[in-house]
């Protein structure tokens, strides 16, 4: 199905363009079935860890973002890491915030930096200072 979407005129940004822009951010693509999987690093502040990220994207779908290394940690209490899904991927936006007409490199990547900043703040302070909604 995705393969047909890939060639359909869905009005979004094509994979070559997405890949080109991600490459400029240092993210290398690999192709798995009909998806592109990018691996690259993000460091939100100079005193932060350097995180290796995996971003899976199927043309027209919602990017799926996972922190590979260092693995995400909780605070040792009952609270789960805020703004994550049960599969461990991180939740950067509401569905209406993102559309396939946007560049992953210009939206998802800045949001990843932002998320990682608040994640490190949360580890330090126990409060998620970045706002958002959890359902």
């Amino acid at each position: 199905m995705a393969r047909s979407v890939r060639f359909a005129n869905f009005g979004g940004i094509g994979l070559p363009q997405q890949i080109g822009r991600m490459a400029r951010a240092g993210f290398r693509p690999r192709f798995r079935n009909s998806r592109v999987v990018w691996i690259g690093t993000v460091q939100p502040t100079p005193i932060s860890e350097i995180y290796t990220m995996k971003i899976k994207y199927r043309l027209g779908g919602r990017p799926h973002v996972v922190v590979l290394d260092p693995p995400l940690r909780d605070r040792g209490d009952a609270a789960a890491i805020p703004h994550t899904f049960s599969d461990g991927s991180i939740c950067l936006h509401l569905s209406e915030d993102w559309a396939p007409t946007m560049f992953v490199a210009d939206t998802i990547l800045p949001w990843v930096s932002h998320w990682l900043l608040y994640y490190e703040h949360w580890l330090a302070l126990g409060d998620w200072l970045g706002g958002g909604v959890e359902t």
Partner: protein, 389 residues
């Protein structure tokens, strides 16, 4: 004196850490409200003594001394009070007093006459202490000009010794300011008549910030330990001697802690100890206590070694949470959290203004308008509310 440093966008971990350290220093200083209250109280006491019938003829000149004058005040641990020192210099020869303690009694009696000050007053060895309800006390040290030594030298009455003791707080402050101003643009300073104006943390000399951090680390480390800790004047002097004009707190701290450790003789004990002389009076050994109290000297050695290793470890840490944990251990949990919270609040505010973005290639958060910075589009973090266990 609480003026937070601007958010700093940099690729350098040291500069980024500096921003947090400056926020720690801001949190350690007298807050704006307390600074204003202390300034008001000081002005009132000064005006009262200057117009008091028995004190006024001696033309008292009252000015801040110690950390208040140097800009190195540090919030006390455990709900103790800020200790604010003032010299009340009398234009009278010390020998005109029959006994040194008479100078103390003169100021004591004058303040005691005032129904407002009488209940707040405590008599100390070298000063009269006024305890205010608002987290600070003012120590008023009477003094006479030291005609023999001249310059800014004064004589201070010591009740227990029943003697006049030489001192030179203004000379010391001028020396310290000179050390603090190395490589920095000189600025006019007349701090004698009022409390020093609040200084923005990034405009404050890195030496002053480093002294605050060292004193704070000593206090935090001393919690629950009954042993004698290195005194502020010794730490302040060592820091000022070791400072080489670095422009950043972390640079200053690197240099200071390394130089202090190098000043300590190898295999140092009480017998071959470090001697810290008063830079304005080389006859005065500020560290004199160490020659008779080996334990006090050992405490200093331990402090210096521990501070050096904690500092070096801090520089190598990555992860804001790990850095914060280290700052908690070094400077206290409350202060470290306050510093990080204030930095986080500034990030939030910058984000609201769409003023921050991320740097292409690294993901570092930076100011929009600088090179290769992608603005952060509006978004709302989402997710499932879950419990780990």
């Amino acid at each position: 004196m609480a003026v937070a440093p601007a958010l700093l966008f940099t690729r350098s971990p040291e500069s980024y850490l500096d921003n947090l350290l400056m926020r720690i220093c801001v949190a350690l200083q007298l807050g704006d409200a307390l600074h204003e209250a202390a300034d008001g109280s000081y002005q009132q006491v000064a005006a009262y003594l200057e117009s008091h019938p028995t004190v006024a003829p001696l033309r008292p000149a009252i000015h801040p001394q110690g950390s208040m004058r140097l800009g190195t005040t540090v919030m006390p641990c455990f709900g103790e009070e800020y200790d604010l020192d003032f010299v009340c210099e009398l234009a009278r020869d010390a020998r005109a007093f029959a006994k040194p303690v008479d100078a103390l009694r003169l100021i004591d009696a004058a303040l005691r006459e005032n129904p407002r000050y009488a209940p707040m007053l405590q008599t100390k060895n070298r000063c009269i202490r006024l305890k205010y309800a608002r987290k600070f006390h003012l120590d008023v040290l009477p003094a006479c000009k030291d005609a023999e030594r001249g310059g800014t030298c004064i004589l201070v009455p010591d009740r227990e010794l029943s003697a006049w003791v030489p001192s030179n707080p203004r000379g010391y402050a001028d020396w310290f300011d000179g050390r603090a101003r190395q490589l920095l643009a000189p600025y006019a300073m007349d701090k004698e008549q009022k409390l020093p104006e609040p200084e923005r943390a990034e405009e404050k000399s890195p030496l002053k910030l480093a002294v605050q951090l060292m004193k704070r680390n000593r206090d935090v480390r001393a919690r629950g330990v009954a042993r004698p800790q290195p005194v502020s004047i010794v730490l302040t002097t060592l820091a000022a001697l070791s400072y080489r004009g670095e422009r950043s707190v972390s640079g200053a701290m690197n240099s200071i802690i390394r130089n202090i450790c190098e000043m300590i003789p190898p295999r140092s004990t009480r017998a071959n100890r470090l001697v810290v002389l008063n830079p304005t009076n080389k006859n005065e050994d500020l560290s004199e206590r160490w020659s008779r109290d080996g334990l006090a000297y050992q405490q200093f050695l331990d402090w210096a070694a521990d501070f050096r290793s904690a500092w070096n470890a801090l520089l190598a840490l990555r992860g804001i949470d790990k850095v914060t944990r280290a700052l908690e251990t070094m400077f206290g949990e409350h202060i470290a959290h306050k510093a990080l919270q204030s930095q986080a609040a500034d990030f939030g505010e910058a984000r609201e203004r769409n003023a921050i973005g991320t740097t292409r290639g690294t993901g570092l958060i930076a100011a929009v308008g600088t090179g290769f910075v992608t603005p952060i589009p509006r978004h709302t973090f989402h997710g499932q509310k879950r419990q780990v266990r």
